[in-house]
């Protein structure tokens, strides 16, 4: 079976965000980019599935040349082939999903993994959009995945519990932390990845359906009051929470 994993290349979560001169994007200066953390769970699940049912794992990423670093990481973990859909500028989830759906169709992948959201724009919708555009089933925010022939049983995280979802291939699965433990790339894997091909091609053009007007930093919070340095401060803290903040 051909399995696709769609990954994004995002600022490290330790990044201190600064706004770029256009006022609509972040200033990339000094920012370290990494494979989106949730996408590592997606790569791992794709590899585990391949190990079970056979086939190949294709990594697809949309963006600039810089994304190759994250594609290489997935190849080093064990994916077979990489595809970079090249695109510059602003693209929203809808145009990304359209481009990805187009490539997934061309590659004839029956099972597609995404991270449940990318930790930059936090939309958490690209997987579901792609699935609908392809007419595939989809389970999002998955913490447990089993595939038996074409039947899928997946557990997805909801408020205060898990939903057990039944569906079938072809399908899109979006991975939540807890789905698995992503493997480290071995030295052998890293060496092998250097010989693997990353196919580069322009992404199919699709319109954005949203527009960014402005990006700003949140209002900075003023440091508050240190109420005390030991347990004797507790009654005063409780009084403040009750009478000043009125939250308890």
């Amino acid at each position: 079976m051909k399995i696709a994993v769609c990954i994004s290349h995002v600022p490290d979560t330790a990044t201190r965000v600064k706004i770029g001169p256009d006022g609509k994007s972040i200033d990339p200066a000094g920012v370290t980019y990494i494979i989106n953390p949730y996408d590592e769970f997606a790569v791992e699940e794709a590899l585990k599935t391949k190990e079970k049912v056979g086939g190949e794992v294709i990594v697809i990423s949309l963006g600039s040349d810089a994304n190759k670093e994250s594609i290489r990481k997935a190849l080093a973990m064990g994916a077979d082939e990489g595809i970079l859909l090249k695109k510059e500028g602003y693209f929203d989830s809808f145009s990304v999903a359209n481009s990805l759906a187009d490539e997934i169709k061309a590659q004839n992948c029956e099972l597609v993994f995404f991270g449940k959201q990318s930790v930059d724009y936090d939309n958490s919708i690209t997987g579901q959009l792609t699935a609908e555009l392809l007419g595939y089933s989809c389970v999002s925010v998955v913490v447990k995945f089993t595939l038996d022939n074409i039947k899928i049983i997946a557990e997805r995280e909801i408020e205060g519990g898990r939903e057990i979802v039944e569906t079938e291939l072809p399908a899109v699965i979006t991975a939540q932390k807890g789905l698995n433990e992503p493997r480290y790339a071995s030295l052998k894997g890293i060496m092998a990845s250097k010989k693997k091909v990353i196919i580069e091609k322009p992404a199919m053009e699709f319109n954005n359906l949203t527009e960014i007007i402005n990006l700003s930093l949140p209002p900075s919070k003023q440091p508050g009051r240190i109420v005390g340095t030991d347990a004797s401060a507790v009654p005063e803290l409780v009084r403040l929470l009750r009478e000043e903040a009125k939250v308890i």
Binding site: P11, T13, T15, R16, V17, I19, I26, D92, S93, F94, V119, D120, Y121, N123, S124, L129, E132, L133, S137, S140, V141, R156, I158, E159, G160, G161, R162, E163, I164, V165, E166, T167, Q176, G178, L209, T210, E211, I212, I213, L215, L217, P218, K221, P223, G224, R225, I226, G228, T229, D230, A231, V234, P235, L237, V238, L241, R242, A245, V247, I248
Partner: protein
Amino acid sequence: MANKIIAVLEQRESNLKRSAFEVITTTKNLAEQFNFESIAICIGNNIHNIDEIVNYGISKIIHFKSPDLEYYSPSAYTELIAGYAKDFSADSLVFSNTALGKDLAPRVAANLKAGCMMDCINLKKDNNELIAVRPVFAGKAILEGKITSPVKIFTLRPNVFKAEKVVNPANPEIEIIEATSLNLKTRVIDIKKSEGKLDVAEADIIVSGGRGLKAPENYKLVEDLADVLGAAVGASRAVVDAGWRNHGEQVGQTGKTVSPKLYIACGISGAIQHLAGMSSSRYIVAINKDKDAPIFNIADYGIVGDVFEILPVLTEEIKKIK
């Protein structure tokens, strides 16, 4: 002809959720500002509190009813909502940004070729356009954007928009549509609850613990305080990665972004990815030994001290007033 806006309401266990009423009030307010016609949709089997919608300002509701719809079915729910939105020629749909809303809204969007603004914390009118305000980078930046497609979809972060009762509620007009020939290709067959605990994403008060608690068994101090406050238990990434707590409790950039009324951080130093996930809480209390911990930079009230000494006393003091 007036433009039309749909409030999509979520039920769990046969009752509309609290966040559904936030969606109603917000939809009602938008309808008033833009002179839209509003209607609510709910999907489920029995919905016990359906009459309550009128108290929040929308009187008309479509209830798609079937025993097969009691649990969520992404395929069936998507077809019903997208189908209704087309028949009704809806211009906008409003969902709650819950686990269900996040899954469903984009599917409906793909069907309607609608742009999405997810996890909005404000919706404002500017030059007769609707501007959505939403946190990005887990709250490290705030994005203002608009949707350029004819049909528009917004999801609201729970706990941020108010659910407000109206003074003179109208009589409810509930139209029940018995839903048949459903597409149940993808469906929930069961729900596993996690010990009946409150979820951080929906809680008014959260008590979170970090590495300062030193060992998983000491988390009882956090749980005891959460119990007396009726709060949810949260966790820092460090303690989740160490396996002390489940990922469902993790607050921060690779966990949940939360905005409760009160957030109590116990033994959490405040790594930037944690602060991103909770700094929009209305009030923040920090208890930490290290006076230089970054958490104190955003806390409203702090105690520089030992969590092992302070937490039991705090729990006792709160018991006294409850």
